[in-house]
């Protein structure tokens, strides 16, 4: 029995980890900027493309293959440093205080642009670069083979949960973010440059999405359409957890991860439906998500 359950569990957790990276960035950006960034999934796939490109470069030049782990992290930082400030300053800032319809239209426009940009640069063929996964190898317990890379994914997701919680609760930046989330005007009155917090929070969200994409490429490859798929999944997770909730996003990612993997093992045809069925059930019982409240301002 355990031979069937442990791989199932590991698959669920690894799948949850990848969804979590995308969802937690979305939810963080929403709680600080109060903008639902529809283009968030594109930043996940851009992170993937950049990571795959850098890893391919490393292998083609026959550099030390272990550099590809650094490449995954570097890609996420790179994408965040370029796209975070650029998108926030040029587009998102104009939507502050506007209606949700305007915010969604503008970020949807951005999504279309970013998707085409990726097709222009990386083409429409799928990328597959699994050096980091092969390097970590496998382990066999009780006759079942596990990918060590999956454990890395789960560990990274846990690190992000803990890291974000430490950042919010125990750093100066975290205090300022909490103040801006709770009361933007009061935050300004006590001397917080809210524009700076918006750029930082948005870039952090981009970093988390790009990190998710970068970590996902070695396991699943990357192809056009990944951005849209990720966005919809991340939205389902954010809705289940309650928008603006870090731990909520983690628990919701687990629920969606388990739902997906169970569906794949038991009724493969329901794979795509399972996350939304889970979302439907949760929202019917708790309309603001598992950890959400009407005001949706805690983070």
């Amino acid at each position: 029995m355990s031979n069937a359950i442990i791989p199932l569990l590991l698959d669920s957790l690894a799948s949850a980890a990848l969804i979590f990276f995308a969802a937690v960035g979305l939810t963080l950006v929403f709680s600080v900027l109060r903008v639902l960034n529809v283009a968030h999934g594109s930043l996940y796939s851009i992170g993937g493309y950049v990571a795959a490109s850098v890893c391919l470069f490393i292998t083609s030049r026959q550099l030390n293959p272990y550099l590809s782990f650094a490449a995954l992290l570097f890609s996420a930082v790179f994408v965040a440093a370029i796209f975070g400030p650029l998108i926030e300053r040029s587009l998102v800032r104009w939507t502050y205080g506007k209606s949700e319809a305007v915010q969604i239209l503008i970020t949807f426009g951005l999504f279309l642009m970013l998707e085409d940009l990726q097709r222009m640069i990386f083409g429409v063929q799928s990328f597959y670069e699994d050096t980091p996964m092969r390097l970590l190898g496998t382990m066999t317990i009780g006759g079942v083979v596990y990918l060590n890379y999956q454990i890395l994914l789960i560990g990274m997701a846990l690190l992000v949960v803990i890291g974000l919680r430490l950042l919010i609760n125990h750093t100066r930046l975290g205090r300022l973010i909490t103040a801006v989330v709770t009361d933007r005007e009061m935050a300004q009155s006590i001397g917080i440059d809210t524009n700076r917090i918006f750029i930082l929070a948005f870039s952090l969200g981009v970093f988390l999405a790009a990190l998710g994409g970068a970590l996902a490429t070695p396991t699943s490859g990357i192809a056009p359409g990944l951005g849209a798929d990720t966005m919809v999944l991340a939205f389902a997770v954010a809705a289940i957890g309650g928008l603006g909730q870090i731990e909520g996003a983690a628990v919701a990612s687990l629920i969606v991860g388990v739902a997906r993997v169970l569906a794949i093992y038991l009724v493969p045809s329901l794979d795509a439906v399972a996350p939304y069925a889970a979302m439907l059930v949760v929202l019917l019982i708790r309309p603001y998500g598992l950890f959400g409240s009407v005001t949706a301002r805690r983070i």
Binding site: R175, A179, T182, A187, Q188, S189, I190, G191, D193, N195
Partner: protein, 230 residues
Amino acid sequence: MLSLDKVSVSIEGVRVLREVSCVIVARKTTVLIGRNGAGKTTTLRAIMGLIAHSGGAIRLDADDLGKMPAHTRARAGIGYAPEDRRLIPELSVEENIRLPALALKLDRAEIARGLDEVYGLLPELHVMRSRPAGGVSGGQGKMVALGRALTVARKVLLLDEPFQGLAPALALDYARTLGELRKHRPELALLITESSPALLDRIADRTLQIERGEILLPSTKDDKAHVHEV
């Protein structure tokens, strides 16, 4: 010295302030009296840059505040305690008071000095410093908001209806604290809004009347001194 020169503010097409001019001078307590909706809060919000003014100028000494983003007020030395307190409920009382110092990146010694001063003036805050701000009463919350504003108010302190909703005993405490503050920080320019003048009679150096967005007569106890300073 904080000065408003023909400041007008419109909210959704309605003129809320009409060419308001007044001078809030250092070492004086100015009280702005007006009914609900007369424009008291809007005046303070305009000074804080939380609402745009359509005409005129707001100056702190030589600086045109209208050209500076809202968050620069704190660094310029203006402290603001809004009527509805607006604390961060999940942070402790002390963390709320420290927040402006954190935002302005003051060093440890300065933060400690600021806290000491606030606790010296408002000892009850020291008693409840580790309680979450969401758990204190409305009146205590006003004290916390005052303490928080004090940490940045080097030049000007703006208090929006501080006595609104205070129990009589707390109101007395609060008035006594303001008297102490006057002695402790003689250089401070204090602007307090209220709807009833009685509460502030003893601490007011000057009283301004605001009605339907216009300041009526600048009746002051020491008009001559005021004119001289202008």
